[in-house]
Symmetry: C2
Subunit: 425 residues, 2 copies
């Protein structure tokens, strides 16, 4: 095996994890010869000679074989990756937003330059899902992918449901442990798992879908009443990514969902991620591992570097061979939507409503709505409403709405003198 | 991608599954051009021209690129694989016994001939564990592998514990569903999971360990009293394969074990398999999927064929780079052993005993014993004793032996007038 020379961009959490895994590993023939960073004033634990502030010192160095890109800034990352490929260097990145937004271009650029871009660390940290989809399920007619793709929100939800912490406290704990970013927007609003889902759509179903077309709602709008609704029924809320193929149509979204104890994703706790696959041949598969953190993600990046040492490239088998599948948002899903006032909500958007509960502190509706409707600004930007998906397996709608449970609920409401109005449609 | 021509040996359960997956898959460029079978009188669903009874018609055919070996007979399979490699053909097999017993030879033969042998289907059916260990965890300092590697025994144990079926009935159901062989010896005595464990030792720790050196006890000796012991304490019994590295020593064994509801392997039901990995970087990983069956295993074989189309070979990274690890049976484990009469048991073999219960219908001992002792004929061949591992996480030994529980147990025994003798050492 030849000794690989690596040029690294960025030396944050994952960069440092990579440095440590690479130098601890006993059987890796390679080294990081240069690290390009932005902040000149920051104290670094490594010798200053290793660092540069000029990207050309890596990109134009003919001795560097592989460029590893681990910075946050998407446009800058795209420039680096483009220049590296054009200069004959293969690239490893863990930048999910970069890949999700530019995958079609990057596939084309790989074809043109003959160089590879690998990005296992971009999706679910330590779970080897991309290469498994490419290599192992390349010929499997997959039907469904579902999972917990974001460690920080899963950490928050675990604390909220297992330890009954409130949301703000759970978020700050996640930040203290390094599972959530200082700006947690991408995580808690469900953008981060959506980027990952978008990437997996290419490897599982062969379709490139821009993240903008995929519905995502996060956990940032969950209210105390929503948590109580779940707890009263012995349910948890998990932020799930979901893609399914029906004939030649594929739909996909990221939404919070009620899950009961029988759902195998209910046991996935803290910063762990999980991916379930279902296919015609393999039936059900479940992969569980740490989705975030310096060493787990660093190890994923190292496994990509190692794969480049024998010229591995993704073949995008499904994309090139199964191009006939189509993405759609034309799909009804069952949801619970809570809100303060009926004025907050477009009731006409629902295809059907099975029940309304209107009371003083918080109202909610159970009904069916299409993903298409949820792409609208009214649903995406309205912080006064919160939406949680219901699935048949986890939430028995018929039971929840039985006469007895309705009666009991009304009694409960009356007891607190909170009832204003109640309509069953 | 070139059109691959495959010569197949054997057309049983997995062979037929391969045929179906290969012909259903929309993006596989290849075909089975010849199938060599043994039984001339058997009716086949495919045209007779596809079949041959002469292995040379595959092995000596220069048009055949890949040989797929799916027969039961290990010496015959070894001849086929050897001849194929020497004739310049790469090989895919799902024969775990063949690989476990001849891996060192087959690695050497691959080096000499430059051809590949792939065998993902040999270990845990549809779970892509070998390639994941090779490609993804090739640089990860793994500490532990643990799992349920045998679908038929897991099916039996699930029925025994979830549906309270007796052992014989559960076994015959497993056979009806095709999860257990007509001769279930290799499964129920723990040989099948041991072969798989032996293979994984090479890919996870870089050591070749002949299956003969690895302790295996199965579920065939479990008695009604053992099941009651588990049920009374809210435990299940699972047949687990286990390998662990401590410094430069590796130990490994297959034993039934008591597991409680917190153990993530307790939820693995029916014919599903599971593999947990623990490493310094990746932390905990869990893979779950179907471990047996025509289509899941057929799909695993197809993924190997597909990998050969781009000349993939296992690199045996850990073996070539980490050769310094050593296998040992010098390791104490906690066990429960039950028996009819004290004469059945070598009490001196225990390193320590924490309790004896002697009564008329069935006696048991809790204590520590070394794996080395369990390799002896007295433990391997004595059908009158049954052994189940205890782990600290799943079975609180101190609690089980508290004065209160002992007193309650004595009372219970007295009630039935069954007590003969009771010694607490």
């Amino acid at each position: 095996m030849k000794h690989i020379k690596i040029g690294l961009f960025g030396f944050g959490c994952v960069g440092q994890g990579l440095y440590e895994t690479l130098n601890t590993s006993k059987n890796f023939a390679g080294e990081i010869t240069r690290i390009c960073v932005k902040n000149k004033s920051k104290q670094r634990a490594l010798p200053p000679s290793l660092f540069t502030y000029d990207k050309a010192e890596i990109l134009d160095d003919p001795n560097i074989d592989i460029v590893v890109e681990l910075i946050d800034d998407v446009p800058a990352a795209l420039d680096i990756v483009t220049a590296a490929l054009k200069n004959g260097k293969s690239v490893v990145t863990a930048n999910k937003k970069l890949i999700a937004e530019h995958l079609e271009y990057l596939v084309q650029l790989q074809e043109e330059t003959g160089r590879a871009v690998l990005y296992e660390g971009a999706v679910c940290g330590s779970i080897p899902i991309i290469r498994t989809l490419e290599e192992y399920f390349g010929h499997e007619p997959l039907k469904e992918i579902r999972g917990i793709f974001n460690g920080s929100t899963n950490y928050i939800l675990t604390k909220v449901f297992k330890e009954r912490l409130d949301y703000a406290k759970a978020l700050s704990q996640a930040q203290e442990h390094g599972f959530a970013e200082t700006d947690p927007t991408l995580d808690v609003q469900g953008f981060d798992p959506k980027f990952k889902l978008s990437i997996l759509l290419t490897h599982a179903f062969g379709i490139h879908v821009a993240p903008d077309h995929i519905v995502n709602l996060g956990i940032n709008r969950l209210k105390a009443a929503d948590l109580e609704f779940a707890r009263d029924r012995g349910l948890q809320i998990k932020l799930l990514a979901h893609a399914e193929r029906i004939d030649d149509q594929v739909y996909a979204y990221v939404l919070p969902q009620f899950v009961n104890g029988n759902n195998n994703l209910s046991a996935i706790q803290n910063e762990f991620n999980a991916v379930t696959l279902n296919g015609d041949f393999c039936d059900d598969q479940l992969f569980i591992g740490k989705g975030a953190g310096s060493l787990p993600t660093g190890a994923a990046v190292l496994s990509d570097i190692s794969a480049l040492s024998y010229d591995y490239q993704y073949e995008y088998k499904k994309h090139y061979n199964l191009g006939q599948l189509h993405f759609t948002n034309d799909r009804l899903i069952d949801v619970y939507v809570s809100f303060d006032s009926p004025n907050d909500l477009e009731l006409d958007d629902f295809a059907s409503i099975s029940a309304n509960y209107f009371c003083f502190d918080r109202c909610y509706v159970l009904g069916k709505i299409s993903l298409e409707k949820l792409t609208s600004e009214a649903w995406q930007k309205n912080d006064r409403i919160s939406l949680i998906q219901l699935s048949e397996e986890d939430f028995d709608t018929s039971k929840a709405l039985s006469i007895t449970s309705l009666a009991a609920e009304i009694k409960e409401l009356k007891k607190g003198q909170k009832i204003r109005e109640k309509i069953s449609v």
